[in-house]
Symmetry: C2
Subunit: 337 residues, 2 copies
């Protein structure tokens, strides 16, 4: 057996899986942002024609998966596994979203790192010889997330300056054992990192150390430097967390500043859209990748990128009990050819 | 590439991973049940020395993983990936339980099917060449689960006759690419199955169709009959769900009655311990496997077993919104040699 595990936490794929297609389905606010032209579906209805926010999220999941599969010229019956995650209690967005497909399902929880987790695991299943096609997806919904983690919207609670805005969106990709580029070449699997941050309104600060940890492991394990990548895109650190990330990585002698972008800072116009620290949520990195970055990779405008979705793993209960906020991030090394 | 995916939803491993060691950590009530002598740790303190039930669950997770690793003569640094899941909102049991290990972590959500999900994925990662050692684990805590899904214990609410009793326990196994038996030979990955059951106090009925679906796919995909296995062990269908499962499978021409047992009916003495329909929770199948079945497989008293953890994928919110309860089950084909 040839071990594909490298260094402390990384994987180098023997037959890099293709990211065959991608689909991004988002809500109205995301459709008013700078990336509007990159999304496949922009709904003008934040409930996506359903009765509740939770059902709306599941409908986004269903639509994005169906669209990604259709773009590949496949049906869901051709898919060996669906891997998906979200933020709702008991993964309701994903569970109810995939219910109609009847395909083997792995539910994942990595909070907003879910798209990284699903792409890493999906690529591993394909490179491991366990199938031809896999769906990797992740979703979030602003209204459902506020209800789950913070205050019901009806209260009209003022948001903290460090707070981010949960993206209403789903990104789904079809990964294929054989296919055209872009390809997933490498992955670094994150560990739970907890530096003691307790402010649930400052998730960027809680997540930055986890992002720094996985990016540094990626460089060391695979003997790479930041300039290897055209873009290093974190998930939803926002402005606060992004500045912290660059500094944390500088302390270890690497400078990612020129290459680093954050999906949370790309998806909204921070000033005009009043989103404070930026976008967040599983759907933030998932829809930004499946819409914007996938198009850039396909066109060759980005040749190599490190995609690093970041997640804060707290719950309301653990925050109320005075626990600090553990975080995780996974790094996916992608190349056009 | 040799495809290891067989039929509709099954996997046949090329180099079946070893279940190298197992550890089961449980609470006081489980320690008074019929399997008491099979558990590694029976705590007399339902809080495991911690302040809250959620922290208690994480402490069980930590102890069980640490013990399984120690039994293997390894340290957690030797483990490539930890895969774990639980029932708490945002997987708090697992997240805080693995926090101190600093190893690559995949958080899973499959409700009470989590031990099946973690063992299937863990075995796939090893057989795919991505590592030498993996931890697969799952946990639940009676008090935390009641608080999350039903009523605070302080209310003293009367329990329905069809209700089950969430096991306070964690089961963890070390899977190894090379090692002694028992081995994971095959797996069938479950789909989300929803037959419209809406009673959150009758999860056995909600889960039985998912268990029947995955068991039937397992037989068909791998061309097996029930007598191939000494034991077919479902997770936590309880009495109501077990009877339903046997009938559902009979409708398709297979009779599993003589081979079928349910972890939820093994772990407690239904009459003496007043648990109504039986035990449930991720920890039910996980601790019963890691304690009882693992010992029987090791001694050769069971030569081949199909382990089928079952999960009900609802949340409080989806139940309150009138949604039915989707369910899932994964089947793990295990043989001593």
């Amino acid at each position: 057996m040839s071990l594909k595990f490298v260094g402390e936490a990384s994987v180098r794929f023997a037959s890099p899986p293709s990211i065959l297609t991608a689909a991004a389905v988002v809500g109205p606010k995301e459709g008013e942002g700078p990336l509007r032209d990159y999304f496949d579906v922009v709904s003008q209805d934040v409930k996506f024609g359903k009765e509740t926010w939770e059902q709306a999220e599941s409908e986004m999941v269903r639509q994005a998966i169906e669209l990604a599969v259709k773009k590949a010229g496949l049906t869901t019956q051709d898919i060996q596994y669906i891997l998906a995650g979200d933020l709702l209690n008991q993964n309701s967005g994903s569970v109810y979203g995939v219910r109609s497909f009847g395909r083997p399902f792995f539910g994942l929880f990595g909070a907003c790192s879910a798209m990284g987790e699903s792409m890493c695991l999906g690529a591993m299943l394909l490179d491991g010889g366990f199938g031809e096609y896999v769906i990797a997806a992740a979703s979030s919904h602003f209204c459902g997330a506020e209800k789950t983690f913070r205050f019901p919207l009806e209260l009209g609670t003022q948001r903290a300056p460090t707070a981010s805005w949960t993206v209403t969106g789903d990104g789904a990709v079809v990964l294929a054992a054989k296919g055209t580029g872009p390809y997933i070449k490498t992955a670094t699997i994150g560990a739970v990192v907890d530096m003691g941050v307790k402010d649930a309104n400052n998730m960027g600060a809680a997540m930055a150390p986890a992002a720094a940890d996985v990016i540094l492991k990626h460089f060391r394990d695979l003997d790479l430097t930041p300039d290897y990548y055209d873009v290093i895109a974190t998930g939803d650190l926002g402005e606060v967390g992004s500045n912290l990330l660059v500094k944390l990585i500088q302390q270890d002698g690497y400078d990612i500043k020129a290459r680093h972008v954050d999906c949370g800072l790309l998806i909204f116009d921070q000033q005009a859209q009043d989103v404070h620290a930026g976008g967040s949520g599983c759907g933030c990195s998932a829809a930004t990748f499946a819409g914007y970055f996938y198009a850039k990779l396909k066109k060759g405008e980005i040749k190599r990128m490190l995609f690093v979705p970041t997640g804060a793993l707290h719950s309301v209960v653990t925050v109320q009990q005075g626990e600090s906020i553990p975080a995780i991030a996974h790094a996916v090394g992608i190349a056009g050819e």
